[in-house]
Symmetry: C2
Subunit: 493 residues, 2 copies
């Protein structure tokens, strides 16, 4: 019905087109007039807001505090850390002037050449440089450490090929930036945050992830080590969903941030940074949704339950409403968000299709006959199954069903990932298997050369060296050189 109504492309026909259409048709986001920048619409933003609130609470429980650092970064700051500038310089939006003036040769306005900045400013692609430039003034002694800051912010990376939520020139994210007195403490925080992201992905997004370490090639520009969570989308491609970087003393050194340690000796400060972005919206969509539209995990759905009355006239509606009102109250008292859609200018069939498209986890439909029978029709969005349930105790039933749906879509995604994960021994086998999508566990000699060769020949990258799983050594599938353990290869978003 939703598919007919909204004419959504089937996943099996063209997965990429299905995604692009769904983002727009489900009212999540749309392209803006500015190349590569999107408008996040109210429904999409409401989901992002639920993610934000949840993560924000989780961060604060670990002692992290929110802050706000400037949007603009002096060009010279970006250059202080050699790898960092190398990684970001080629995709920076640059502010060169601070004023427009009336066009002397016509109408409209032009850049005022007299208002050129002495030093160009960069719109932050990430904030390590401006933040470590500030930390220099905050940190003198080990007593000032750790500093555990986070900010929710917009950032900009001038990507050439963009896709809504997955890769946009401007995106929203959070970036945590911690400063520590010891290498051990900084490493522990780096790992703590990637584990927090994994917990969020699995518990709230119902999205299984593999936690691991990036190869040198895929590391954050300026990090010693990057931890990642990698999820598998329905089409078998990998999506990097969150990263946590151990920066060692790189930014401490670049910005001369030192502290006097417990032995009264000066030392460079140790740091880490970690972030997730609106990319998670793309991950959420491609983990669970189907040909009828979005499938949202109940823990992140802005509306968890919708109730649609089936009525022929105002009298019937009034009777249904009388029955529904206490159910709405009861559901809300259980902390469940409910919408009672009694609009009379849309037919139930239209409403059903629309709520399917929007991924509302549970739909209750109730008509005059149901009231006579003391029943209600319950539809769960994940399986599209309908069942008739007694009105008596329906709130509790729905509360349990929401948890069952949350668990079911997680298990479904996990099963999909497991089915799409294979182990290969030879490079030939690898080349065949990678065409089928999914994660391939293979031995690799640990060199960037081999990694680059594989990428060039198969478009597959090393997603991560998993923290868990089989650690048996072997021989690289390409060079035959020793391999410490199998790593995960995939094509990716």
């Amino acid at each position: 019905m939703a598919t007919e109504l909204k004419n959504l492309t089937k996943r099996s026909e063209n997965y990429s087109q299905w995604y692009n259409e769904l983002v727009v048709k489900a009212d999540l986001a749309e392209q803006s007039a500015v190349r590569g920048c999107m408008v996040i619409k109210p429904y999409g933003y409401a989901i992002w807001e639920k993610m934000q609130r949840t993560l924000d609470t989780m961060f604060k429980e670990t002692g992290v505090q929110n802050t706000y650092f400037p949007l603009l970064i002096p060009k010279s700051y970006l250059c202080r850390e050699a790898e960092h500038v190398e990684g970001f310089a080629k995709e920076c939006a640059v502010v060169t002037h601070y004023r427009l003036k009336n066009d002397p040769n016509g109408t409209g306005v032009v850049v005022d050449p007299d208002a050129r900045l002495e030093e160009e400013l960069i719109i932050r692609p990430t904030s390590e440089t401006i933040i470590w430039g500030t930390y220099k003034n905050w940190i003198q002694s080990y007593r000032d450490l750790p500093v555990l800051c986070n900010q929710w912010a917009n950032v900009m990376r001038w990507e050439m090929r963009t896709r809504m939520f997955l890769r946009t020139a401007e995106f929203l994210w959070q970036e945590g930036h911690c400063a520590h007195a010891t290498a051990e403490e900084s490493e522990a925080r780096t790992v703590q945050m990637i584990n927090l992201y994994a917990q969020f992905a699995e518990k709230y997004m119902a999205m299984p992830v593999i936690t691991g370490v990036k190869s040198a090639n895929e590391r954050f520009a300026g990090a010693l080590n990057t931890y990642t969570i990698e999820a598998m989308m329905q089409d078998g491609k990998a999506l990097q969903s969150g990263t946590s970087h151990n920066l060692g003393q790189n930014f401490g050194k670049a910005f001369d941030v030192t502290f006097v340690n417990k032995d009264n000796k000066p030392e460079y400060v140790w740091g880490n940074s970690w972030g997730v972005s609106t990319r998670l919206m793309g991950a959420l969509i491609m983990s669970h949704s189907d040909d009828n539209g979005l499938v949202l995990p109940p823990h992140l759905a802005p509306i968890q339950v919708v109730i649609v009355p089936i009525f022929k006239n105002a009298e019937q509606l009034a009777e249904i409403t009388k029955t529904v009102n206490p159910i709405v109250d009861e559901l809300r008292a259980l902390g469940i968000s409910v919408k009672y859609d009694d609009a009379d200018n849309k037919r139930p069939g239209f409403k059903f299709a629309d709520y399917e498209l929007k991924g509302i986890p549970v739909r209750l439909a109730i008509g005059a006959r149901d009231i006579a029978n003391g029943t209600v029709e319950v539809m769960r969005r994940d399986t599209l199954e309908k069942q008739i349930e007694p009105l008596e105790g329906i709130a509790k039933f729905v509360a349990d069903l929401l948890e069952e749906i949350q668990n079911n879509i997680y298990q479904k995604a996990l099963k999909h990932r497991e089915e799409m994960t294979r182990t290969v021994e030879t490079y030939d086998e690898f080349k065949t298997e990678i065409e089928k999508g999914g994660f391939i566990l293979a031995h690799w000699d640990g060199t960037t050369e081999t990694e680059e060769k594989i990428k060039e020949e198969t478009k597959a990258t090393i997603r991560c060296i998993p923290l868990d799983g089989d650690t048996t050594p072997g021989k690289c599938m390409v060079t035959g050189k020793p391999s410490a353990r199998r790593v995960i290869f995939a094509r990716n978003y």
Copy 2:
């Protein structure tokens, strides 16, 4: 004690310096490496976050939804509304390039001349243009209206003279943008939102405000009418604290946003926009704080109660902690945020001064003798008064005290404003009175010429034409021409 410790300038010596010092010493914010941009530190951000959460809930209760529109605006968009571009073009940060490259003549990076944008992009000074450009695609029929969107965002206006929170190049704010089918509905929403701001200011910030209409001269660039809330700071200067603009059909016309009305005829959409910013932080500070530091209204204090144990040894501390723990639990159960500061590396006197500086509304101090007596010392920050209270029932006592403090600082600010508000008849009288600060109620002929003359000669501006109060007509104090009613003049931030 705090003053000694932190060496804060007295308000009577130099109010402006007191403000600047307090912002830094209370750990609210500091200057950044980027001219005119500040870093909002964790404590300052926590207060802003409480403001945000409160306002966000209030907005949503009126049907407003959050969204996100792009940071960058094409230059041509800005020019679509003539007054709007006139108002903002002279303070715009302009992005001209999207890439840096290695400096061919040395180290570091330079702007890549090959990466020049075809059309320059402006960092939003406000988002009417990009939003109305988008609304064009959202609105076809009266059934699509109203559209009630808000965003929490950073904006940039290249101000030449900046002061932290009060006037910064980049600031944080929310901007609401509503589209309506009728002029009446749009006007009603414009007024609804200024009233919401007034309610927030008075109920949460404990800051009395006068709601009124701006003169044509002080109107938002592109509005038919601007409503404002004006507060009086301790030094008698006015601070514009929130505005709501009736945009009429100006942006509907500029961006060709039309809809088919109920009579099946095309019509331009009616609009309004409304916003408050981190400027409210400055207003909060200058409404209540004193020579010992911040005074925060309990409804916005991130920590409402601090408990400081007075102990000589670990044994005493353990005993105090045993008594304090259930009190902490009880306070939290009442929804009160409490910090129990049992750190043993700082003396109580240091802690007292620090919490005074930070404006924690209530401090409890408890020592071995108090436990023996079943009492606790309670200090309220607004009056700095101490009293001994029984431990029995202390949570309830504190809860009531917080409300009393909230009310007391509001009343104090209101009394101050009333004492500093005078009515004058002649321009000579006006010139004398304006030197003493405060609000001056005077007759004005309604012309921009007279308004400009007064501003030039006295540095006073018309803050607003109040919605309430005396509406007796009279004669302009400057020209003697007819005046519809008295308006409020003041010098302002």
